[in-house]
Amino acid sequence: MNQDAKQVVLIKSSPKMTEESTSGLLTDKLENLMKTERLEIYRINVRKSLIQGKTEADFEAMLKADALVFVFPLYVFCLPGMLMRFLQDYYAFGLNRPDRKKTRVYAVVNCGFTEAGINQEAVRVIKSFSQKTNYDFRFGIMIGGGGLLLGAQEAPFMKKTMTELGNSLKQIVYDIKNCPDDRVENISITMNFPRRLYHFMGNRGWFSMAKKNGLQKKDLYRKPYERYTD
């Protein structure tokens, strides 16, 4: 291990079990960029950490890190409950540890809606967590229309967006490596794609996925709990 290299913990917090996720894709991209810059990386999958009971080892790595990067999807306008569990437990674990460092913290949040700004409150939660832990929150990357990243990242119309996204991820790497003190604003990434078409394709996608499960279009509108109307 290079003793001089900055140690970074990448915290992927997609609640998905085994399926590919946009958060996984973004974490991979960050990891590749960081390896190029010779940063030491410790990667955490929050679901596995919690379910497999390995939070203690992961929390120890977080306590020793120079930087923490949280990568997660927006869930009902803020952090998934799973990530909140992880943060609450980490806070309790590290509260009285004398070996805590002034760690830099970053957030990369993606949402299915096209408006990148919807992620703002989630970034503020990570900032609040950083304040409570006496860490140095730096900035967040807020991605709208994240549904396009997994399936269409190679498409020609995505080139501009992918370049912007790549540059924003590089900015995290630069910030960790060079430790500038100047304030950095959150970065918004919006897909270069018409919103109406995004909605149309998304809506059609639900019908086609339901059909693969043997359902008809009308089945998607079921009201299983409706007992009465008033």
Binding site: F77, G81, M84, H199, N203, N213, R222, E226
Partner: protein
Amino acid sequence: MQAILISDKEYQTEAYKRLNQLVTIFLTEKGMKLTETQLDRNDLAFCKGCFGCWIKKPGECVISDAMAQINHGFINSQLAIYLCPVIFGQFSSNIKNALDRCIPNILPFFETRPDGSTMHPARYRSYPKQIIIGYGDDLSEEDRNLFIDITKKHRRNVEVLIYQGNDAEISQALSQMELKKAGDEL
């Protein structure tokens, strides 16, 4: 009139106990039949992002635990009140799990609201009035504002209050609210 009360068993502080008592007395005096659920850390599984509640078993979570009963109670109540610890300006994990797993109650599609924002459409014709009451010791102004923004900024059918030990303030705010179903605006 039916009401559900959802709270976090992990944060039953003195403030919580007073708040719970205050809300329970208020609802009872209003003639509401109250069902209370106290959520502990292992009571609900985390949402697994499978979308099964939209494309496999529409309207129902595919995970078998207490959430099915909570969602059933929610849809068939006039009022849903959450007593919620404010952690880092957000809902605590136990409460957030319950909110994450409410998504069977809406449709998967995207729609554009009159103000231009995106939302998922309603699955049901009517939803309970939702009141989220945050509590916590020594909450900063920043966290209080964040909690209000998270709760209200993107939703049209939720009321938010923050309890800081002032019983009269909460009682007065509750007494000024219409405690009935809120229609299908989300």
